[in-house]
């Protein structure tokens, strides 16, 4: 494998990172209303959301990216592979974020809600000032863990022609017929990218636990 191919493979890295970050950001925003719907007192909405979450999680990402890219993309709006990848993984991470947020929500001790009630805070202030920040802090380690998973799943975007890391890896494999080195390089690149997030999630968990320890 020549240096030219080496750099060609690595040229996929920025797109891999971009898809991961954009999908994560989209998921973190969209996950929120989904979480609210998931915990809504109105039963039909809640059940619908549960089914929706189950559906999105049940179908493998590769099927989703085809459905969105060729389905929605063809009939409604034209989109490039990058947009489709972000929408697909944004959707998938949104439902996962919703569940992560819900876990964080449940982790807020009952006493916090009782105190906010006893202090006569309005529902909105109770939510915004007491529940939300703690929920978010409790969710952070899980979000970091999820981000690692998302980074790797983004490889699937190569199937609709996004020239990210895996796509470039496969291209070089086809050009050179050398699977082992290319695979090693691609794998190592993913691991190197995931290490900082994994490290962050471990340490974040510890720091936050200490911070919120009563």
């Amino acid at each position: 494998m020549t240096w030219e191919y080496f750099w060609l493979i690595l040229s996929g890295v920025p797109l891999t990172i971009a898809v991961t970050l954009a999908a994560l950001a989209l998921g973190m925003v969209l996950g929120f209303p989904i979480m609210l719907a998931r915990t809504a007192p109105f039963a039909p909405l809640r059940i619908l959301t549960i089914v929706f979450i189950a559906l999105v999680r049940s179908v493998p990402p590769v099927v989703w990216i085809f459905l969105i890219f060729f389905g929605v993309g063809a009939d409604l709006v034209q989109m490039d592979p990058f947009t489709a990848a972000i929408m697909t993984f944004g959707l998938i991470s949104a439902v996962n974020m919703a569940e992560i947020y819900r876990g964080g929500f449940i982790a807020v001790p009952v006493g916090q809600h009782e105190a906010a009630t006893a202090l006569n805070m309005s529902r909105w202030h109770h939510f915004r000032d007491v529940t939300l920040p703690q929920m978010f802090i409790f969710s952070l380690p899980a979000i970091a863990t999820y981000a690692v998973g998302l980074l790797k799943d983004s490889a699937i975007a190569s199937t609709v022609g996004l020239k990210e890391l895996t796509f470039q890896g496969r291209y070089v494999t086809e050009m050179t017929y050398r699977g082992l080195e290319v695979l090693g390089l691609v794998g190592a690149a993913y691991i190197l990218m995931s290490l900082p997030i994994a490290w962050l999630s471990r340490n974040l968990g510890e720091t936050l636990k200490r911070r919120l320890a009563r």
Binding site: P109, G111, Q112, E114, A115, T117, A118, L119, N120, M121, S122, H125, D129, V130, P133, Q134, I137, R210, R211, L212, A213, R214
Partner: protein
Amino acid sequence: MTKTLIKTWSSTVASSGKTLVSLQRMSKRYGDHLVLPQIDLRVSEGEVLAIIGPSGSGKSTLLRCLNYIEQPSSGVITVADTQIEVGKDDNKRRVRELRRNLGMVFQSFNLFPHMSVLRNITLPQVRVLGRSEKEAEDVARRLLERVGLADKASQYPSRCSGGQQQRIAIARALALGPKVMLFDEPTSALDPELGLEVLGVMRELADSGMTMIVVTHEMSFAKNVSDHVVVMADGAIIEEGPSREVIPNPQTERARRFLRAVNER
């Protein structure tokens, strides 16, 4: 500002014997389980009432129903000028009106761990009373000084001892200027010396004329600080009267058994 503060701390110095809190036939059930069959209670302005009794007798439930943290099942609740008939006119607005006169302190402090001590005290003032940040901060600092923690303002709660946290919780409740303070075993999560700090603050508060309802296992506090005592067992008030009479010399067999247990430890 100073006016506000004085009001928050001792709005009821001039104890007058006027009834400030009353519960009439209040009951509470969880599903099939009738936890409080029917409670009648009356607390006068400036009075300190201690509620004692074995575990599970419904002391916490009583306090929590009184300020609607738990929805009571029936009865009439009156605090100062607000009277609520359970199930009739207990809409959100009325309940908030009721709570405005009630401050509450929990066994487990329940400070907001993600806010500094100062913010814990100013935030509710800003949100609930609509005070300016500046004004709220002045009130908070004055109260922190009263509970002996002026230097902790910028710390986070987790950096404070349990006794300090509980004193901060008291300051937080007082900052909203309640007419009545409710305490649910405020010292039982604390070890003796730290508990003493908290009891000291409570005693001072009582002396300043605050109306207080205190669920407690601290007999010397009940005996020396409270005016009246209520003994509960199995969701009912089995004995009540002036603390100095009831505690050393209970009349019912059940109350006698409980008090013996407490004193023999």
